[in-house]
Symmetry: C2
Subunit: 378 residues, 2 copies
């Protein structure tokens, strides 16, 4: 067999959802999981600590390329592997920007990308000045380790950040202050890029958040101007190329009330904003990520239907694992594609999602929300 071997570090739902297209494509997928019984248990071939070079090196020997379920593998580990000739996609030089929001802002600035105003914060005075210059409010972020609303805080004075300012060393020595954008909605541009350069984007989507966590995705984003479509497409390509990203990239953006499109966050991997593509697109983000990191030709990103709507299943308590009401949800919503991630129940946890596609955006949204509501009731 000359089969291709894909290595994924991390056993979360993204590694789990890479498994079906790997099976379909005939790619041998292997996962290095943090623990037994992860979301990606079926494809797990090794359990170990991804912070240890020896562990990751052992895993790398069994695959043709290393990619990721998350962005937390230490750069030093990846740089060491790259020096040994391992194909790491996206490469460490790109992941450096994903792992540090301050580095990301600096690099995007150098590329001339549109962003909220921002500043590096190392003391209370600089933060106070930034807040004062921005109508008395700022978004303060820890440059390292934040996700899904964690490591993010709305501050109206330097005192609001006293604890972080007193422990700057924990965050790499700096915080990141950003303009609190008055936005009408959030958009995300999903794309994929191969090491050899091929780049392809999906239609722009609208993402809706609840408490900092993605809740609903509408694909394509409704009522978007031609100018915005052009801008977002250009941004995605410029970011992917400018930061040297390979695999799937999600660029999350604000559509500001004044019309500006401003880059919020980047994810250099399949992302919640692209789950709709499993059913909604000729090539899903998970299949495309696999093709891209193996430097295989990309697949068509054309939609399967006029509209796709995805609704997240966020844990409600430590009992409802969304299996109890499974039958009821499927019976009432035969068009709904219910995905669960094999996780034990916990409030706020991303436990699964529901996608519905069709000619009517309103119908798809109602069906997806309807199925989710049945599952959430348990």
């Amino acid at each position: 067999m000359t089969e291709l071997r894909l290595g994924v570090i991390g056993g979360g739902q993204l590694a789990r959802m890479m498994t079906p297209p790997a099976i379909n494509l005939g790619i041998n997928i292997k996962v290095l999981a943090e623990a037994e019984g992860s979301s990606a248990a079926l494809a797990t071939t090794q359990v170990g600590d991804y912070n240890q070079l020896s562990v990751v090196r052992e895993f790398a020997k069994t695959v043709d390329v290393i990619t990721f379920d998350h962005e937390h593998v230490p750069l030093a580990v990846l740089e060491a592997l790259e020096a040994e000739g391992v194909s790491v996609q996206p490469p460490s030089k790109a992941l450096a920007f994903a792992q540090n929001k301050l580095s990301m802002r600096k690099r995007l600035g150098a590329l001339g990308m549109p962003m909220p105003d921002w500043a590096e914060i190392q003391d209370a005075a600089t933060l106070s000045a930034f807040i004062e210059a921005h109508d008395g409010v700022a978004i303060l972020k820890t440059p390292i380790g934040g996700y899904d609303g964690k490591g993010v805080r709305v501050v109206r004075s330097a005192e609001d950040a006293a604890d972080w300012l007193a422990n700057l060393a924990n965050f790499g020595g700096s915080l990141l202050a950003e303009e609190k954008v008055d936005f009408v909605r959030e958009l995300a541009q999903l794309s994929a890029r191969r090491p050899s350069g091929e780049f392809l984007a999906w239609p722009l989507v609208e993402t809706q958040q609840e408490n900092g966590v993605c809740s609903v995705v509408l694909a394509p984003a409704p009522e978007v101007s031609k100018a915005t479509l052009d801008t977002t497409a250009e941004i995605a390509k410029a970011v992917a190329e400018g930061l040297g990203v390979t695999g799937v990239l999600s660029v999350e953006m604000f559509e500001a009330r004044d019309g500006r499109i401003l880059i919020n966050e980047l994810a250099m991997r399949p992302h919640n904003s692209g789950h709709f593509s499993i059913e909604g697109s000729v090539t899903s983000q998970f299949e495309q990520h696999i093709r891209a990191v193996l430097d295989l030709p990309l697949g068509s990103t054309q939609p399967h239907a006029k509209h796709a709507v995805m609704v997240n299943l966020l844990g409600v308590d430590d009992k409802n694992d969304f299996i109890q009401a499974y039958g009821s949800a499927l019976a009432a919503h035969p068009e709904a594609k219910v995905h669960t991630y094999g996780k034990s129940a916990r409030a706020g946890r991303k436990m699964g999602h529901v996608t519905v596609i069709g000619d009517s955006a309103a119908h798809a949204l109602a069906e997806a929300k309807g199925a989710a509501a049945v599952l959430l009731r348990g």
Copy 2:
């Protein structure tokens, strides 16, 4: 976790293709494979001989339902498990008809289903008389163990079957003679049925065979009369209910030159005629089979596009495993969904398939055949 556990006996490509929807649905899939390194290796939890009750019983203890990649598990093994309270879907009483073509013909006859003329053959004289009564030709089948053109022979005299007639005990004591139907094409009606009775069909498809093996499937079948659609839908439901089938059922039929629709073969599992549904339908045959055998509500069988075309990848030699030309095929055919089954190369072996969906049947066929041609060249 209250997750549902699906047990599949057999590690072929059908078990392999059940794995992606099991992952998506959050169903814990386990496979009892004949050997290590099967097509369904990723989901394999046990390797052993399915002819041995002790082996299958051990496997059954780890799952909520037993279903199948193939139809070869001895009825005695399944009956013993059923007596012990194991859920076997489809049940042994249905599989009895799938395992013996003569029993199937008798049962279909009792249900009044349209079939080619047929006769049970236990001696040369009866066969000679059947051939004489049918324009000097008959299709002779071994009732047990045939598939993909094996165990089937065109005979023009009893002498053509002398070897089979001399060894009747090998075939359960009888052969099955059937009228050689003058057909204009072959059709297949895919459907699924739950133990609790819910039944749902996909659109009728046309299947094209080469040397007795499925080569191309057109979904939906082109230019079918309303009468034929009604007839084939009625047949599928009557067969599923009349034979007590659960899970996916494929009814393969001839469209005779004289307009008759005649049942050729039955498959009580996901079937080559339904591979198009992975991309072509809101619910694929593999997802539906899982839902059906677990007695979960069935999903919509609506198409994702006007047309879906599937082309099989049959092995050309012992070298081309369809990986070498992978990149070239994907590059030239970005709409094509290429599936490979992780099998070592062998001439004539079902190694994979390609599906293309879209508004134009001609375009989909050309793209699917184009991608297959690149892969076949190696």
